[in-house]
């Protein structure tokens, strides 16, 4: 039980409107302090994420079974901060020298929880037909446009744009198919077919190179096949005599070739026969 002091009299309670204004002012101050404190924690946390060295893992390039070249890699993002990285997405756009879009792909979006070390797989498929046909036989520089975006600390939208050029080594660089002069007699005519190219790709050419000698008119002259086992950065040069149908004149025609692997068949650019 409390007894009121005869000497000390508590000051009367301030009017309601005064208390409301005072409460709002205090709330404003608390809000400001909390926001600034939060921003400080987010900034510290973001520095920790950057210091944890996000990076790109080893990449491998393979000829895929569906007639595309697949580049597989991973993006590792250790989130050692206090906040999740939300809606993290990576976008890729890859153009060839003539400006054709070869790859337009997106990885994610995904959330990376705080305190986790997440590796995000990246698979890019280059078509080898249409605008991508030149990738088979022409070394070139590809224009890579990569941009990523995410939200950090629930408040900050971050995006990164990277534009760079990367060299592309063709698996059949400078492909040349030459048809020699038909020779022979007694009902059997043969023609030498020479194939030369350089495998400048980062993967080996394994399979076979099947070809057909097609005259300017009339039925096909003949066909043949080269067995390929060409390691990366190695030249290939072989000649094969193929039997041609009697009366066939390959002059003015062309050689239609295709690269055949156990899972796919990729047409190569046709070579004209002079």
């Amino acid at each position: 039980m409390s007894v009121a002091s005869p000497i000390y009299r508590r000051p009367p309670r301030p009017p309601g409107i005064y208390r409301a204004a005072r409460g709002l002012r205090r709330a404003a101050l608390i809000a400001l302090v909390l926001v600034l404190l939060y921003v400080g924690i987010v900034a510290y946390s973001a520095v920790e994420v950057v210091k944890s060295s996000p990076g790109v893992g080893n990449s491998s390039t393979t000829m895929d079974s569906n007639g595309t070249v697949a580049i597989s890699t991973s993006f590792t993002l250790p989130n050692s901060g206090f906040f999740p990285i939300q809606q993290f997405a990576l976008h890729f756009r890859i153009l060839n020298t003539t400006g054709d879009v070869l790859v337009a792909s997106t990885v994610g979006p995904t959330d990376i929880p705080a305190g986790s070390n997440q590796s995000i797989p990246v698979e890019l498929y280059f078509p080898l037909t249409g605008g991508g046909a030149s990738l088979l036989t022409e070394n070139q520089y590809l224009q890579w446009q990569v941009w990523g975006n995410a939200t950090y600390g629930y408040l900050f939208a971050i995006s990164i744009d990277i534009a760079t050029e990367k060299s592309w080594g063709a698996p059949f660089a400078n492909l040349s198919v030459r048809v020699g002069t038909p020779s022979g007699g007694n009902g059997s005519t043969v023609v030498p077919v020479s194939v030369t190219f350089s495998n400048d790709a980062s993967f080996s050419d394994s399979g076979s190179l099947d070809f057909q000698v097609v005259p300017a008119s009339g039925p096909d002259c003949g066909q043949g096949s080269f067995v390929l086992n060409v390691p990366s950065n190695s030249p290939f040069s072989q000649t094969q005599n193929i039997a041609v149908a009697s009366g066939c004149d390959p002059s003015g025609g062309h050689v239609a070739a295709e690269y055949v692997t156990p899972g796919s068949t990729v047409p190569l650019p046709s070579e004209a026969i002079p």
Binding site: R9, P11, P12, P14, P15, I17, Y18, A20, A21, R22, L24, R25, A27, A28, L29, A31, L32, V35, V39, Y154, L155, F156, A157, I158, S159, I160, D161, I162, A163, T164
Partner: protein, 166 residues
């Protein structure tokens, strides 16, 4: 026979107040001026100047920060000096409104673009949500200023015993 005596109502408490003289208030305001100028003008301008010297494009023009910081500082000091007067409420509203306008100017282009020279790398940081969150404080203070203005109109000097207790 005893007659019952009706209770005598307690007299309404009369509490006084002690308002510092104008000279003291000006001195207090001048003392507040120093940290305010450092916080609202000095540090932001120094940070922006550093970024500019590193060839990094600025998210806000330095002049905007200077003008905004000086205006808000002057209003805060004026509000302190005129706290015992009827001008306190309107000055509180003006301070909050100026802060809101300042934050709104920053909010209009609340994306910071950082281009890394010779690297073809661009980094963007959007901080619009942060600015919106920062606007909560001045918005509450604006409401508080409005209430104080109403209180001063309805009952002038009513708040003085609580703002300046004896």
């Amino acid at each position: 026979m005893s007659a019952s005596i009706p209770p005598i109502p307690a007299p309404a408490p009369v509490i006084g107040y002690r308002i510092p003289s104008l000279g003291w208030r000006i001195l207090g305001g001048a003392l507040r001026l120093v940290p305010l100028v450092v916080l609202l003008v000095g540090l932001p301008v120094a940070a922006l100047t550093f970024l500019e010297s590193q060839g990094i494009s600025l998210p806000v023009p330095i002049l905007t920060v200077e003008v905004g910081g000086i205006v808000i500082t002057i209003l805060i000091v004026a509000r302190y000096i005129w706290k015992p007067t009827l001008a306190y409420g309107p000055l509180s509203i003006a301070t909050s409104a100026a802060t809101l306008v300042y934050l709104w100017v920053i909010l209009v282009d609340a994306t910071y673009h950082l281009a890394i020279p010779n690297a073809n790398v661009g980094i963007s940081l959007g901080y619009g949500d942060l600015i919106l969150l920062l606007m909560v404080g001045p918005a509450l203070a604006l409401a508080a200023g409005a209430l104080t203005t109403i209180e001063d109109i309805r009952s002038p000097k009513e708040r003085l015993p609580y703002d300046f207790p004896p």
